[in-house]
Amino acid sequence: MIDCDVHQTFNRLSDLLPWIDPAYRDYVLHAGFGGFELPNYLTWMHPNGTTRGDAVPPEGGVPGSDYETMREQLLDPLDVEYAILTGEDILSVSSLPNPQVAAAVAAAYNRQLIDEWLPRDSRLKGSLVVATQDAVRAAKEIRTLGGHTDIVQVLLPGAATSGYGHLQYHPIYEAAVETGLPVAMHVGGEGLGINPPPTATGYPIYYIEWHVLLIQCAMSHVVSLVCHGVFEKYPELRVVMIETGVAWLPTLLWRLDTDWKALRSEVPWAKRLPSETVREHMRLTTQPLDEPDSRQELKQALGLVDGLENMLMFATDYPHWDFDRPDLVSRRLPTSWREKVMSENARALYGLPAKPIRAAAAGEGLATS
């Protein structure tokens, strides 16, 4: 199994001090009330806690901050072949008003990820977090660190001041394509800092509203990327939507295809049926996999998008509260989809090595070098 959404993090932002550009050290130490903090989800708080109640490291600290706990709870028992690390609060750098501070903190985070997390375990693969306020600077960071062997993607937050198709973000895509990395968009920063309200009707009151409607950002980005012709401009670009599940996709694509047939002359650079473009260029992680009353209903929903079996990639979202168990997800997928979704789609996208053929698995026909 390849887990495409595993949250590792630092305990305190000051843990990143050894990697911070000295020009920002005093800011991190002394800004605000006794030290700089990232905007966080103190606005919409999960009433029972955002992370799994059993994921607090035994020695203390925040869930996801301790490698040994992650190994004992996730990597070893769930037989994780690779874990794609996606950070945690760090995605909120793009919610900060100050683009220089945002870029400096993201840069420190990336270097700590490369120095302290990735060398610990060959199963860990990293996502390069860039601040979106200054896409030219973000592109420079991608070109600087994107070639690292264990960095497998560029990571942007789901929240943004405009759809990700807008021209201002294109330097990020150009650099990602140049370094051969997919760009992932992961829930993060919705309604925080400089970002717009998290829903199209403004600020919700309750966490449940906020959480259910997080998919609005993902939907907006899919439409934006297609209508702005991003995949026409960067044909090699692959975009991954993480932590927003999947069942919202079929009807969005129906609507987008239908409208495109009438309105294509407004966006003539969008040359193909939008659903075809999305199928070729986009991937989605499964979690939180929707839970209708019956497995049959889920299979029907998944069957509504042609080729979805080549787009979906499994994710647990460890150690978040809405964590998905791989055995339960696998069982709910059509049999012929399981190998692709649980590992092979991610392996192909991220260029991860083929599974070595073991004696017991020799008959499974997995390619090997």
Partner: protein, 134 residues
């Protein structure tokens, strides 16, 4: 007496879970009993025991919080109740009545509960099963 017990033989199995001194008020533990894992709680001196795996995705209920909850109420009004009787799964937050095992969102969903009492300082679990005559 219910009709379904006519002609049936009730069997009772007992298992010593752990010493009460190892489970002070507010504490929880997981023990092996009756061939399965059981979560045991001391809620202000009262002992409760439930199957350890959440019926949703198998979250470890022994790590769950025991608290009260917001009772169904009129819109925009919070009413707190069932204090010390609601077990919250540490994974997906599903709530169960710690005494009956019934899920608060749907009473037909339940986690297995065991009778628990203290005998000579030991917490003893009981499982009752009705066995049809052979």
């Amino acid at each position: 007496m219910s009709a379904r017990n006519v002609g049936a033989e009730a069997t009772t199995e007992r298992a010593v879970a752990l010493s009460l001194s190892d489970l002070p008020p507010g504490a929880s533990a997981v023990v092996e009993a009756f061939g399965t894992m059981v979560a045991v709680f001391n809620v202000e001196g009262r002992i409760f025991a439930v199957g350890n795996n959440c019926p949703h995705h198998g979250g470890p209920l022994c790590r769950g919080r025991v608290s009260g909850t917001h009772l169904p109420s009129r819109p925009h009004e919070y009413r707190y109740g069932r204090e010390g009787r609601v077990l919250v799964c540490p994974w997906h937050g599903r709530e169960f009545d710690i005494e009956s095992g019934q899920a608060l969102f749907d009473p037909s969903v339940r986690v297995k509960v065991y009778e628990a009492r203290v005998e000579d300082g030991q917490i003893v679990l009981t499982r009752r099963r009705n066995r049809s005559p052979s």
